[in-house]
């Protein structure tokens, strides 16, 4: 659309874009370089003469080794993975069914129930964490993965439902009617005809739900107490900072390794992730 001299393209488009990408990605570069930098180079004051911040000639695995030998990092990874997977599956199950009901069935208060779902979608976790901690204790779920597996769906289900409603609304009614004329029951038409068509939507909500539960922090921080039960974000925060001492090497190694599962899932399904994200915004 915009044609012009090459320098204009660089000044108005390429250079700003490069700057954006640089700033957005630099902290991750910093994470990586810190992970592999020996302590001797790490703790040099910022104005030291021989300080070379952006590269190291002596890469080391000692921080990663520390992480696996001195902390329960492997255990945290497993916990986080388990909790994220199970709560995603629960939320998808509930969200797909509820989304189908709200988008395609006629029943009293369908509209207002949709609004209720949208409003719960907007309830932040930080509003309820103190009473919820007491309820978790009363149910004797404290310090178990189930305290998170059962509470994460409270923010994942509304999200999945909302997204799935959009997908289900886009599927033509005739598809289902054909199956019903051929003798399928409502239930069968839903399970065998409509839900398979909505698989892209299910994938999108599943991926976003997975990254959201991997990201969750305050519930995990409040509900879990023993080191072996913790998730990656909580474990890294509580076990690699002792008093005022930050173990920056292992801390960055933990941040890097803890990000990798999410990054892998994301990289395989970028398109689904983006379409889910933008779908949730369009509503």
């Amino acid at each position: 659309m915009i044609e012009g001299a090459l320098w204009r393209k660089w000044v108005f488009y390429n250079i700003p874009l490069i700057l954006f990408v640089f700033v957005l990605l630099f902290p991750f570069y910093w994470m990586i370089i810190t992970t592999f930098r020996p302590d001797g180079e790490l703790y040099k004051p910022w104005n030291a003469v021989s300080y070379q911040p952006f590269w190291t000639n002596n890469p080391t695995l000692e921080h990663i080794k520390y992480l696996f030998e001195e902390t329960s990092f492997a255990r945290w990874m497993f916990n986080t993975m388990f909790i994220a997977l199970v709560s995603t599956i629960i939320s998808l199950f509930c969200g797909v069914l509820a989304g189908y009901a709200l988008a395609r069935l006629n029943f009293p208060w369908a509209g207002s129930l949709g609004t209720v779902i949208f409003v719960t979608y907007l309830v932040p976790q930080t509003l309820l964490f103190i009473p919820l901690a007491q309820i978790i204790r009363n149910f004797e779920l404290g310090d178990t993965p189930w305290s998170l597996i059962l509470t994460y769906p409270t923010f994942l289900i509304p999200f999945c439902t909302w997204l799935m409603m959009g997908y289900f609304k886009a599927i033509p009614k005739e598809l289902e009617e054909c199956a019903r004329i051929d003798g399928a029951s409502r239930w069968k038409a839903m399970v065998y005809i409509v839900i398979p068509v909505a698989v892209p939507g299910i994938l999108s909500s599943g991926i976003i739900a997975f990254t959201l539960s991997w990201n969750e922090f305050i519930y995990a921080l409040v509900f879990l107490s023993s080191p072996d039960q913790k998730t990656v974000p909580v474990g890294v925060t509580s076990e690699l900072i002792r008093g005022d001492v930050f173990f920056w090497g292992p801390l960055m190694a933990g941040a890097l390794l803890g990000s990798i599962p999410v990054a892998i899932v994301y990289s395989f399904f970028v398109e689904h992730y983006v379409s889910g994200l933008t779908g949730s915004v369009k509503g």
Partner: protein
């Protein structure tokens, strides 16, 4: 007997399935799991939270009903007032920057160039990587003694003394705002990009033929068409930012000297840190009226924009 028993066993599931043929029963069955989970872990804790905030309960002490005493107490608490101010400042400033930078980035991405898909995929990383983990990278970059930002500014000749980013109240707030903007811009950019892509380029071309300058084309053509998406994106972002916890907890923990608390971090400090459960619950709940107003105002506005 045997015949009727068999017939009964076969007959029993049929009415249940028939019942699912009725849309109302099917809807009920489909919504039940969601209703149970949301009722148990949202509605019930909300109700319990309100009750809790009206008692004097602490860790280990059951407490008694004290009416609105906790709310009066936090109202007169100077840290709480700072917290309220901080939360509004934090939300307002970050939203303006996220919108402006996000829109700019979206416009930069809304054209064809080599490696666009790759750039778009990488740009979203700050948004998908767990916030706590990426915030630690920032905290390390802002470290008073080993800060790479200080090093860069020093090498470029902007500073001669170190800047203690997280040790000074105003600088600490600014640092937190920077990290929040960093994390939020990708979400704005990608969502607004999706909005931009639904706007037909012909509209802009027609305006250009009619002699509209680029700025006018943006202001009179693109922006009004983008407004519905923008409002929804803002709604999500404002609520998430207003109720933010992780970022401040990691960066400053509310310090220095309680200067950077948000509702959630102060509620955590009082409720979980010092065990004053009822006061913590009261602070958390104090967010509710604000959130409620934000949601109602924005939903009304969105409806108005969409029906226009």
């Amino acid at each position: 007997m045997a015949v009727t028993a068999v017939a009964g066993a076969e007959a029993r599931p049929i009415p249940r399935l028939r019942r699912l043929e009725d849309e109302r029963w099917l809807a009920l069955a489909l919504l039940l799991p969601t209703a149970i989970l949301l009722g148990l872990f949202i509605a019930y804790p909300f109700f319990e939270g309100v009750l809790l905030s009206l008692t004097s309960q602490r860790v280990g002490v059951d407490g008694e009903f004290v009416g609105l005493k906790n709310f009066v107490k936090i109202w007169n608490d100077s840290i709480f007032r700072t917290t309220v101010w901080n939360t509004f400042w934090y939300t307002g400033v970050t939203t303006v920057f996220k919108l402006a930078l996000g829109l700019w980035l979206a416009m930069l991405l809304n054209r064809h160039f080599k490696g666009k898909a790759l750039v778009r995929a990488f740009i979203l990383l700050p948004f998908i990587i767990p916030t706590v983990l990426s915030t630690f990278a920032w905290k390390w970059m802002f470290d008073p003694t080993f800060s790479v930002i200080n090093w860069t500014l020093y090498q470029l000749g902007f500073i001669t003394q170190r800047i203690n980013w997280l040790g000074d109240p105003d600088l600490a707030m600014t640092s937190i705002i920077v990290v929040n903007v960093w994390r939020g811009v990708p979400f704005f950019a990608i969502s607004l990009l999706a909005g931009l892509q639904t706007i037909s380029p012909e509209l802009n071309e027609a305006a250009a033929i009619d002699g509209a300058r680029p700025w006018n084309r943006f202001w009179y053509v693109t922006w009004p068409l983008l407004l519905p998406v923008t409002m929804v994106v803002m709604l999500f972002s404002v609520i998430q930012t207003f109720a933010d916890f992780q970022l401040v907890y990691v960066m400053t923990g509310g310090g220095p000297a309680n200067a950077t608390h948000l509702f959630a971090t102060y509620a955590y400090q009082l409720g979980i840190g010092t065990g004053l459960l009822s006061e913590g619950a009261a602070i958390s709940l104090a967010m509710f009226p604000f959130l409620f107003v934000i949601v109602v105002v924005q939903l009304l506005y969105i409806r108005r924009v969409e029906t226009r």
